[in-house]
């Protein structure tokens, strides 16, 4: 390996790698069915206060169904993009950390609010809260994916 500090050609690989990483990150765009599936999954989650109150259903079958949908979506997304990014923690990706926290906060907040409104007979308001929460969660999922794309583009901290 020659002394590359004075040779601009030696830096070409780094520039090329940035372009290639950008190409890889662009593959991480969700297909239409992924976001639809995410909306269905959250609709199941936010339907729990209604089904437990009016149908007498336990929350566990619905959460199991939501979890199954989530796993299927993750599997499908991995197959479609060819990139597997497993769940690490709420801090990953660093750019999307507030979004991950927002997803959890919206989920808990919406379910508590729905229970509160249903107890007071405000069914329409509870449905509106559930619908808004689904929209918020889909937007948050898109933002989290944007964070992962940004992380892939930046090389996960590597140069």
């Amino acid at each position: 390996m020659r002394d590359a500090a004075s040779d601009p050609a030696a830096l070409e690989p780094l520039e090329r790698l940035r372009v290639q990483r950008s190409r890889l990150a662009d593959r991480m765009r969700p297909p239409w069915w992924y976001l639809t599936g995410i909306a269905i999954m959250y609709a199941l989650v936010f339907a729990v206060p209604f089904t437990s109150r009016y149908l007498g259903l336990s929350i566990w079958p619905i959460f199991a169904a939501a979890l199954t949908v989530a796993c299927l979506l993750q599997w499908g997304m991995t197959r479609a993009t060819g990139i597997k990014v497993g769940f690490r923690n709420l801090r990953y990706p660093p750019a999307g950390r507030p979004v991950r926290i927002a997803i959890v906060a919206v989920s808990v907040g919406a379910i508590v609010t729905e229970h509160f409104l249903i107890d007071r007979g405000l069914i329409v308001a509870a449905i509106a809260v559930a619908a808004l929460a689904v929209v918020a969660e889909v937007a948050a999922t898109q933002a989290a994916l944007r964070g992962i794309r940004q992380e892939l583009r930046a090389g996960g901290g590597a140069a």
């Binding site: 030696a10 780094l14 990483r21 190409r23 890889l24 593959r27 990014v85 892939l152 090389g155």
Partner: protein, 127 residues
Amino acid sequence: MTAKPDPLIHPITRLSICGLLAAGADWVEFAALRDAAGISDSVLSKQSRVLEDAGYVEVRKGAVGRRPRTWFRLTAEGHQAVQGHLAWLAQLEEAFSASTRDVQQARPIPGDRDQPHRVLPPLLGST
């Protein structure tokens, strides 16, 4: 992590493969890696085998229906080598841009009034 060149990763194709696998994904599928790197199937197969033999890359083969699927990921050893090599390249880039800056400052373009000029110290004894 020490910034040092790795002769095994230095060739452009292998650097592309390793750099992409180090980008943050857990596993990357053959076609995704090939398309992102802009190389052919045969080149990717050949170079990934070299990296696998060196213990830098882990290969997992499977199938979806009748279609074979191959997945790649960096091993811990591979990760360390790639980080070191990329840090070395980043240092070179830094050194190169610093030297380019120095040359530009030392030799301003003739007639360019906006360029910063170096003020020379007065000669001893001159008035």
